[in-house]
């Protein structure tokens, strides 16, 4: 245990925590916006898989990381249109539709990978970008200011999402539509358009999350996410539908993940139970959810399709 409490190991663990938190944070922020508008999207994991694969494939063929991120974003948007049409215009049950998106994403990314790539080949990873001066600060410089642009983007989107939800007319519409769509409709706010836009933003974020994941790892394999998208959905509940809370959840998740990895590497956790320890983050989330469940209030219209008749 003493090996763990050395400055260098702690700093490295913190850096890993923030890196690991990035895709969770992006996906969960997007899901937050969607859920605040009353739409549950359980398909996040599928969208992440698809966007991760296409980002990976883009890097493999062109070597261009930025093009890869753009492609991932587009994949997210395309899946957003599909999900929005299914749930908003056809008023399909959100839970089942989301599972459908997940299964499609899982299967299609797997198929494409086997057909187009076959065996996993490493690709260049996202470079870290040092922020002048801040990057050289002791202790905090490395974990906070020597990260990739994707990580800066993810954390930068937290306050932006807060502003979007709380300070803009669009955000007001989103919150109204998620709580009482009839009331919003009676004031001339288009429930359909608002939810459509919220879903598109949510899926764009999920696309970026897929890109962040694959470009941080520099490799793709079938079912790369292993349920990360579902954890992201849980983090929205954990964060009580507030961007800062969601960020707290993603960070906690990153810290526990990074610590478990570090302890495994240092041999603090015996190999025999290492798989068990891998469950720690999930157990933590469930525990936190149980504790929080009594206090938090979900958007009242969450999962409820809207129609006038």
């Amino acid at each position: 245990m003493d090996d763990f409490f050395t400055t260098s190991v702690l700093v490295a663990t913190a850096a890993a925590a923030i890196r690991l938190a990035t895709p969770y944070l992006l996906a969960a922020l997007g899901e937050t916006i969607g859920q605040r508008s009353g739409v549950l999207n359980l398909g996040v994991d599928g969208v992440m898989l698809l966007s991760a694969f296409f980002a990976y494939w883009t890097v493999l063929s062109t070597g261009n990381l930025w093009l890869a991120a753009l492609v991932a974003l587009l994949v997210g948007l395309i899946m957003g249109v599909i999900y929005a049409v299914i749930t908003v215009f056809f008023e399909a049950t959100q839970g089942i539709s989301g599972i459908g998106i997940f299964i499609f994403g899982l299967g299609f990314s797997d198929l494409m990978f086997r057909q187009q790539v076959g065996t996993p080949k490493p690709v260049p990873r996202l470079p870290s970008v040092n922020i002048p001066f801040l990057a050289d600060l002791p202790y905090v410089g490395e974990p906070l200011f020597q990260r990739s642009l994707m990580t800066y983007l993810a954390f930068g989107l937290v306050p932006l999402t807060v502003v979007l939800l709380n300070k803009t007319t669009f955000g007001l519409n989103v919150r109204a539509v998620g709580e009482n769509p009839q009331a919003a409709d009676s004031l001339g706010v288009s429930v359909e358009r608002t939810r459509f836009a919220a879903i598109m933003i949510g899926n764009a974020f999920a696309g970026l999350a897929g890109a962040a994941l694959v470009l941080q790892l520099g490799i793709f394999q079938p079912n790369l996410t292993q349920g990360m998208g579902f954890i992201a959905v849980a983090l929205v509940y954990f964060g009580a539908w507030r961007p800062w809370g969601v960020m707290g959840g993603a960070l906690l998740y990153g810290v526990v993940n990074a610590t478990v990895l570090q302890w495994k590497a240092l041999g603090i956790i015996p190999v025999s139970i290492s798989d068990l320890a891998g469950m720690a983050p999930a157990i933590l989330t469930i525990g936190a959810l149980i504790l929080l469940a009594r206090r938090v209030h979900a958007p009242a219209a969450l999962t409820k399709p809207f129609s006038r008749h």
Binding site: K167, T169, F170, R175, N180, S186, L187, G188, V189, R308
Partner: protein, 506 residues
Amino acid sequence: MTSTSNNLLEMRGITKRFPGVLANDQIDFDVRYGEVHTLLGENGAGKSTLVKILFGLYQADEGQFLLRGKPVHIASPAEAIAARIGMIHQHFMLVPTLTVAENVALGLASSRRPFTDLETVSARIREISEEHGLAVDPSVIISHLSVGERQRVEIIKALYREVELLVLDEPTAVLTPNEVDDLFVILRRMADNGQGLIFISHKLHEVMALSDRITVLRNGRVVGATTPAETDRQKLAEMMVGRTVRLTPELPPAQTAESRLVLSNLTINGDAETIAVNNLSLELQAGEILGVAGVSGNGQRELAEAIAGLRPLESGAMTLNDKDVSLASTRDRRNLGLGYIPEERIPDGAVAEFSVSENLILVDHAASTFLDKGMFDEQAIADHSEKMVEDFAIKTPSIKTPTSSLSGGNIQKVILARELAARPTVLLACQPTRGVDIGAAEYIHTRLIEQRALGTATILISEDLDEVLGLSDRIAVMYEGQIVAIVPRQDAERSQIGLLMAGATD
């Protein structure tokens, strides 16, 4: 089509069909500048449908309308608002988690796009509040407001949008008498300013007090038009129902004997762990109706829930037919003879998705009469349901119809039928006729009086003072969790009870 008069609104030949229902049948209706035009009619007469068409929530199958003399087509609420039509709906259209200012700003263009401009909105709300005497703080979250304050926010929403034609669909259903008076002052002033108002209410004294003109609908058709000067409550009721009605029921002398329900020193907590009912004692005799009058929120709901077994007692005791039931389950209380008509028809009294028949046997579904070798005896259930539907004059296409598609009055009759079929010795009736039309209310009152003659002890909790005064042998006035007075029927005076309800002590 051109306009011959200078009416604000003219609706011509409006027809609207729903599957199996002709909700509006060739309706002609108009509103002049500066008047309150009331729409009156029983539950399901088509009042809400007509105004929803006006507001763009439904599209008429036939007919046209003219606004300010010009033909218009309104396809959505957004278009209605643009045409300066406002609507206060039968149910609040507020987002409970947002502030007053946010609710008002919703759907409006902001001067600081894409950001909201709540400061400007709040300032304007304060101006409107002052101008119209509508005190409300723009920064408060809606869920912290009382129903009266919420109604004020609805009015402010309309005033903020400078509506010229305001529709009010049963705006007083949830208000206390004082709040209704305040509302009417504001509505009258709006009309005097030249705005046109469409008012919908089941309460005839309100209709008489506020209207300039009254149009009566029955089964989707206009059956008459009149003015308060030409009519009275009795005539209005008859126009609505199409037959003679008794507005004030006759009550034969009570023949009380043994005590049925004894409440001793009850203290009951409210939702927020505050004391809702404070050291309350009461004794209820067989064959009497005890009316509980009071402004909502003075502990009536908590008292009712405690009697029904849905809310624990903090202290005190309760006996039902001489058995201590302080800790008894709802089922035990029912078996001891308690019938319960809850305040909220849906979801407390009936399951919306269930059929009429299922709701009729809801609590007694395990009774041997409905079972055959442990399975439902469909024939017995159907026979029972058909009989109930007939006995209680429940208007429903069939016993298999989902309860949610019945009108409020008919849902209430389903609940009443089920509760009375169990032959209760004590009946707890909470707001039994709220939002129910006159015909159905008269029917429910008749059944309650019938039960009284059979020896049932009834507690009638109601915010409708006329109902309490008309039906009760004794009137208990509740104020701040206590019974401040019990007045026998012959001594009860409307004004005195009203004062007691408001907290005046004599």
